[in-house]
Assembly symmetry: C2
Homo-oligomer: 263 residues x 2
């Protein structure tokens, strides 16, 4: 099986022009097949503020009302996605920008309001990925660049968690490729001590993860990312690495960087 | 040669929810291969106003400064494009949304500042269209939906006239298809008398066009559209129709509607 790199970058990199430029340079140098998923960053919140659209948050999660969905669609699927695609094209990467609605590549389901109504937020699993068509682009040497906007197939766009999209795409493409999934962010990896950037846990197995959760070693913000990572491994993804964006090239060269998750 | 319909809709349809819904319904019913280009409408200007970004106009044309480019990229390539794609998907059309940067489909050149600096505006010709790759999507039964944002290949996005994109795409795809290019708008066609919707000129040849220009029969706003249309015909496009959006289905069924341009 050919190797495919699926790289997710978070908002902190997108918000920092220099960090983004360095990241896109490194990404363009990855040898072989690749795919990018980008989060949103602060631009959407700043735009909402300027427009006087209040951003309701519950348990640290944004509620996506109709106006907020318009803003995230503009910023994620429009501005950020096309800026990244144009920048990659200038680096001779044949990037092609997608939302999940395009070619019906990612269909999700609007999250049911149980205790909290999150609004226009999509939940998804592997069955929602049009992996055959997506693979067709990859085989044609295009480099898909996904924003975190999906659709429900009935005309409704939905705001979707970018980490989850990365995990689900990695799982769905594992039938065609040996997939390495990289979560790139602004920390050196999963830290034993949040205050110490040198306390990176080099390897986490599923059983060690359970123990780390019991010990409360893992910071609350990391849990959904790790859940997504282990879900990817369970669904056939060969390797998941959580590392600083600056280490991207190293993680593709078998040099140890960040945290590697294993079954 | 197979037939390909290339349909351009203007801002007046996009701004009217009901007109857009009707149009997308009709578009979904066109039998055969098709491609859509959409303009922008008022949303971008309204957003600019809300954000306090002043919109400089020279000779009725917008100057695209850096902030305006961000707004048009958000609105055209993000919000409008993805809403149209999601709506078409719900109608079982396998729409795929593009800016010109995606897969390097349309490369343009930043307009040189001679008397007026139009800012981040792209000029283009047939050589900028990646027609081989675009045809590849069409052959795979996808329906491309273009926003009027292109790029220069060096990382710069550029605001581009949607009528010109339509004309250039039609010309570039004429080597693969018998292309019918439709400019859909809110009037019944090219009018002999702007005040009278029944004064549609049914057919305009290149020589008649010259005469109409001399007579000043053609309204100023129609001239660029007609120039684009005749340029398409000169470059191998089989038919160009300028008609009311409501007549879309009729124009694909050899029923006379609007104005037909001939060589």
């Amino acid at each position: 099986m050919k190797k495919l790199y699926i790289i997710k970058i978070g908002g902190n990199i997108i918000d920092d022009t220099h960090a983004l430029e360095k990241f896109l340079n490194d990404f363009s140098k990855i040898d072989g097949l690749k795919l990018l998923i980008h989060g949103g960053g602060k631009i959407a919140s700043e735009l909402a503020k300027k427009l006087g659209v209040s951003q309701a948050m519950v348990n640290g999660r944004r509620i996506t009302d109709g106006e907020t969905l318009k803003i995230t669609t503009m910023v994620y699927a429009g501005l950020i996605n096309k800026q990244i695609v144009a920048a990659l094209q200038a680096k001779k990467v044949n990037a092609i920008g997608f939302s999940g609605a395009d070619a019906n590549l990612i269909q999700s389901t609007k999250r049911k309001a149980v205790d909290i109504d999150y609004g226009f937020v999509g939940d998804l699993d592997i069955s929602g990925v049009n992996s055959e068509l997506l693979n067709f682009f990859i085989e044609k040497k295009m480099v898909p660049v996904f924003s975190a906007i999906t659709h429900d197939g009935n005309g409704q766009l939905l705001n979707t968690n970018a980490d989850t999209i990365a995990s689900v795409l990695a799982a769905a493409l594992s039938k065609y490729y040996a997939v390495q999934l990289n979560y790139c962010f602004e920390k050196n990896g999963v830290l034993e001590n949040m205050e110490d950037e040198n306390s990176v846990i080099k390897t986490i197995s599923k059983s060690k993860y359970k123990q780390l959760l019991q010990d409360r070693t893992i910071s609350k913000g990391m849990i959904p990312k790790l859940d997504n990572a282990f879900s990817a491994i369970q669904n056939g993804v060969q390797a998941v690495v959580i590392a600083h964006a600056d280490e991207l090239i190293n993680t593709t060269k078998n040099e140890h960087a960040g945290t590697t998750l294993i079954a």
